[in-house]
Amino acid sequence: MKKNVSPYERALYIVLVPVVLLIIFLNSGVLQRALPAASVNGQSYTVAAYDFYYFDYYNSFLEENEDKLDELGYDPDQSAGRQDYDGSMTWRDYFLQKGEEELAETAYFYDLSQKAGYQFSDTELLPIQKQLEKNQQAMDQYGLKEKNFYVSYYGRGMTKAIYEKQLERKVKAQAYKQYLVDHYQLTDEEWQGWQSSHQEEDYKAVNLKVITLEAGTDRETGKVGERQVEALKEKLTSLQQRYEDGESFASLQQAFSTDALGDESGDIENATRESLPEVLSSWCIDGQENCKAGDYYSVVEEDTGTAYFAVLTSFGGSGLKKQASMEIGKEKVEEALKEALEGDYAVNRNKAGMTLAAN
């Protein structure tokens, strides 16, 4: 005889099954990848894309302020929306604001670069690869699968493809911004104004090749102490010895330098006092009259646990104009950005999408 299903059971199935399906659907990330969260200058950003900028800022904030979160008044174990930032907004509001600033800035400079037809060099695009490698290391360290990693760190709905796309936009935007700053053309007025308020003396420039070495840390304390600085000095002496024995600077630089200073080859062009550590500037800027091209110098900066081996390749021109170009260029670029963020590049939120964003 056919068993009768009671009305209560039937009601349970009718309610339970759709609820379970809805929960699965909401957690699958499909909505986050389809629903728009915001738009900037007419371009729509899905919840997942928006989350990239939010969590990018959020994760950096946690990393940089790991030791002083208490001081700042933020508890990462509690909901950001329930913690007050400054009386007028919560921490979530703060992170949303910062994330949106990053999103808008990226959109602005990326669009500018596309309009200008700018071709990015491999060096400018290198941060993309480095970040992906850093992510892979984190995945290996914590035993996370790729899909779980991106969802855990960048929100439900995030996939590697979306992440890579937004990362590429961000890196290109930053690279183009730097290009604009570096290639700013000073007007005569600006140059004269700068000269009148800055001394030529402060802007002597040199061209150097530098190898940087970092001190190790104490196994127990994790800090750089006297013993580690002594070891670094010995290491620097060995490096200088190998250079004197005929080993090429390039091979030594590639093998041992941490590239903390200079470009990938260790080159620094038109380095002024401001752009060099004091231990180096005192040799090649202040002591310029005692130096000639080809001279080399080894020094350890004990405060930071960094050692430098520098070869003076040539004297640069006056760095004053270059410094002026960089500083004024930076100001002008920031001004243009501010104007754009208040105008066409203001972030317009989509209410429905924002309920799913930044969760």
């Binding site: 035993g143 670094l232 290491k235 190998r242 093998a255 041992f256």
Partner: protein
């Protein structure tokens, strides 16, 4: 007293007679039986009984198949995971090694080792570390780290399973620092920055060792070598010695905690390390290895299989600890007993990896006397 009136039975409960006679015939117990003969009912009952029996047998078989399938799948999954970890050196190695007993030191041992570790740190932080790359005989790209010394003597370090060339080598601060020897720390194949799909516990690595020595001679001029191997690294050195692969400029070998049989080591310890029985897991892993393209089988990894060979004329110092719960003393003793060349044995009492700290003078005295290092 009036007779109690009997309740009239329902129609399917009434007796039935095929000839229409009341009171005779088979008792009809269900409506379906109505209109059937006794024989037909009996036959149907027998048929039903057979079907029930068959259904029961089929159900039992299905249950057995399902249980076997789930159990088999579980065994396969576990076996596959450990195979990938211990032969393909997957990213799960550090996690797997956390379960292995004997790799953790006591607090006392840790504090006693600290000065040696700090000396090693000073050595590595005060010396430039070169990175070398070389192509082995079978085309595998191998990687190593070199701390170049002032003497034409090189200590070649073969770390144990799960460690690469960045792991500590505590004797290095003495041999490299004070004595001026170069220290060459190898990344075994499939480990660190070396290529390779499989780790073979010394079987394939022995040729890699020979290739590295040849490479070093060709790049830096003929050197004298002291080979220091731990665990699988010790096995590598002894395999190479027994198979005659080492050049004549190898002055000595220090074999710390070698073991005669990987199979025996696994079977003895798999329960205490991973809470698994040797059967079927070790058997399944070995079977998987035998049908893979690894280029070796479990049998090839047994050092005891080659101890009957005549070793080269290279003195070997064996190191072991009675407190070693990772590679227990009896495994090293078996190798020591089976080795027929010039040998000596130094025994400590602490955990795995503490012999040098405990017996530093004895070890260094032997090295100086036998090898000149």
């Amino acid at each position: 007293m009036a007779k109690k009136k009997e309740k009239r039975p329902a129609f399917w409960q009434r007796t039935y007679s095929p000839k229409g006679q009341k009171g005779q015939g088979t008792k009809v117990t269900s409506p379906e039986d109505f209109g059937k003969t006794r024989e037909e009912i009996e036959e149907e009952k027998q048929q039903k009984a057979k079907v029930t029996k068959h259904a029961r047998i089929v159900s039992i078989l299905i249950i057995i198949i399902l249980v076997t399938a789930f159990f088999g799948r579980w065994v396969f999954a576990v076996m596959n995971n450990y195979y990938r970890t211990f032969f393909e050196v997957s990213a799960d190695v550090p996690q797997a090694l956390e379960s292995v007993k004997g790799l953790d030191l006591t607090e006392d041992e840790q504090s006693q080792l600290l000065p040696l570790q700090e000396d090693w740190d000073y050595f590595t932080q005060s010396h430039l570390r070169d990175e070398l790359e070389m192509t082995a005989s079978d085309g595998t790209k191998l990687h190593a780290y070199l701390y170049k010394g002032t003497e034409d003597k090189t200590v070649v370090v073969l770390q144990q399973f799960g460690q690469d060339g960045t792991a500590d080598f505590l004797p290095g601060s003495v041999l490299g620092g004070e004595d001026g020897c170069s220290i060459l720390l190898l990344d075994a194949r499939a480990t660190g920055d070396s290529s390779g799909d499989y780790f073979s516990y010394g079987y394939l690595e022995q040729q890699d060792l020979a290739d590295w020595l040849s490479y070093m001679d060709s790049v830096f001029g003929k050197q004298e070598y002291l080979i220091w191997g731990t665990g699988a690294g010790a096995n590598t050195a002894l395999f190479a010695d027994e198979d005659g692969l080492l050049p004549d400029n190898v002055a000595g070998i220090v074999a710390e905690s070698p073991y005669g049989s990987l199979d025996k080591l696994a079977r003895e310890n798999i329960m205490s390390w991973f809470t698994l029985t040797p059967f079927p897991f070790v058997n399944a892993i070995e079977f998987r290895l035998s049908i893979s393209h690894a280029g070796f089988t479990q049998k090839d990894t047994n050092l005891s299989g080659v101890l009957s060979n005549t070793p080269q004329d290279i003195p070997v110092l064996f190191l072991t600890s009675s407190g070693d719960q990772y590679i227990q003393e009896e495994f090293t003793s078996e190798v020591y007993q089976g080795f027929s060349g010039e040998k000596a044995l130094v025994e400590g009492t602490g955990s795995h990896g503490t012999v040098f700290r405990e017996k530093e003078d004895d070890i260094l005295d032997w090295i100086q006397e036998k090898t000149g290092f």
